[in-house]
Amino acid sequence: MTGQAQSHAWSSHKGAAALAAPPLAGKKRQAFDWRILLGFLLPIAIALLWEAAVALGLAQGRLVPPPSRIAATLLALAETGELWTHVWATLWRILIGFVIGAAAGIAIGAVSGTSTTMRRLLDPTLQALRAIPSIAWVPLFILWLGIFEESKVALIAVGVFFPVYLGIAGAILSVDRKLVEVGHVFRLSRTQLARRILLPAVLPEALIALRSGLGLGFMFVVAAEFMGASEGLGYLLVDGQQMGKPDQILAAIIAFALLGKIADSLLVYGTKPLVRWQDTVRERL
């Protein structure tokens, strides 16, 4: 009963908003949606509660430092410039690894998606390789490529490759035969068909594949930096553990959260004009 009442309240709320919106928003861009701020409520509340608990002496805050200490640590790291060195080191590794992994994933995914023979040839091997936990490559990469940048970038590239490969190949295989037939009716050549029908048709799924690839890139950069690095956010984590500085660990974790979210948003908003035509519920949800 309460659920129903709530949903009623919701819909009437939305209805009122919709009624109120048009004259304000008009033809310009939609007015800022304040409901977005709802998402900040929970983390801020938790942070404030913890801060209060430590300030009132209810908790010690040694192993779980209060937000103010984490902020102070972040600020101090930023002021000395140390933070930026680590951030750039990490971002640079992700960027190179992502570009290599995504390019390989797109190329091989495209080949495997368009040619049955190539798929029969490549896919089983790649699926077997995919079943290996990527961290298992670390010792081998270190032996092959040394302990510096190359092995780290290689690990990230491997992590990015598989979701991109799977996404692209799957997207090409699931292109609507009916649209391809439209291309046949207008006698498009193979390259025209690829450019005018296949490419735009796979774009939305390809972008999702790139997003999950980027997410894995962030995951693997930590693993890569754990295995011996003198800079990078992953190094800050290891250093914080060894030196017993939980505030530094949390500062690095927060930096990861922010960077990951920013990178993902950049990818989404940067590619939005390409998929504006999509008929999805995303905008309305």
């Binding site: 046949h184 009716v185 048709a201 008929d279």
Partner: protein, 262 residues
């Protein structure tokens, strides 16, 4: 002139979809292929469009033997099949690649006007209703000025009012260049409204059962007696094609099935 000679299609699994189809369509003639489901109407259309290959027989357009899609043949499918990433006007222009930009623009503008969607030119297909989308699909086929236009039940998913208005749009576009039209339908009214000739087909294997000439003056008065009697003629032909002499056994089978059911 479109000629089909001894056309047959057998699928890989041995299903005989079409057997020995012979048909010739005059210039500017509108022909309706009508028949129950599974009698190979759509298969026949796909063969003419070059989307499938015939197992035997030839398709000839003005003494040219067709093999594969041909620039002079356009098709409108059952679904609009618009490309969702192109605007309405870009969708209409999709087949106009070899045409100069100015000419393309003019033709698209004219087609938009003809189908009454000028103000929707820059919208995405997703913003259009089903009937509007199908109008765009018809315009896309017409702008290339095909000699033969194939229509594969393009109005079957639409309500009666929309369908009637699309018939008018179609005839309006047809009047301009008067291509050959081959229309697949299972709607007798539609066949009589549009076609000069109805070809009644029969299933298993798909073949031509009967031909009926529908030489009524255009525009056709749907409430008039000649229209009514034409509809009745086609209906009775269709009826015969679906259950020829062995009417009794079919009944018997139904009764048995009913008995099992109870």
């Amino acid at each position: 002139m479109l000629n089909l000679e001894h056309l047959s299609k057998t699928y890989a699994d041995g299903t005989r979809a079409l057997s020995d189809i012979n048909l010739s369509v005059r210039e500017a003639e509108i022909v309706a292929l009508i028949g129950g489901s599974g009698c190979g109407k759509t298969t026949l259309l796909r063969l003419i469009a070059g989307l499938d290959r015939a197992s035997a027989g030839t398709i000839r357009l003005d003494d040219e033997v067709l093999s594969g899609p041909h620039p002079a043949i356009g098709i409108v499918f059952q679904e609009p099949r618009l490309l969702p990433w192109l605007t309405v006007s870009d969708n209409i222009a999709f087949g106009l690649d070899g045409v100069s930009a100015a000419e393309r623009k003019a033709r698209v503008a004219h087609a938009l006007e003809k189908i009454g969607l000028v103000e929707h030119a820059d919208r995405w297909p997703r913003d259009l209703s089903g009937g509007q989308q199908q109008r765009v699909a018809i315009a896309r086929a017409f702008v290339t000025n095909p000699k033969v236009l194939l229509l594969d039940e393009p109005f079957s998913a639409l309500d009666a009012f929309t369908r009637a208005s699309l018939h008018e749009h179609l005839l309006g576009l047809w009047e301009e260049t008067r291509p050959i039209v081959v229309l697949v339908t299972h709607d007798v009214q539609e066949a009589v409204t549009l076609a000069d000739r109805a070809i009644v087909m029969q299933p298993k294997p798909g073949r031509i059962f009967d031909e009926l000439s529908l030489s009524l003056a255009r525009p056709r008065d749907k409430s008039g007696l000649p229209f009514e009697s034409s509809v009745r003629r086609v209906l009775s032909a269709l009826d015969q094609s679906l259950n020829p002499p062995q009417k009794q056994p079919q009944r018997e089978k139904d009764r048995q099935a009913a008995a099992l059911w109870w």
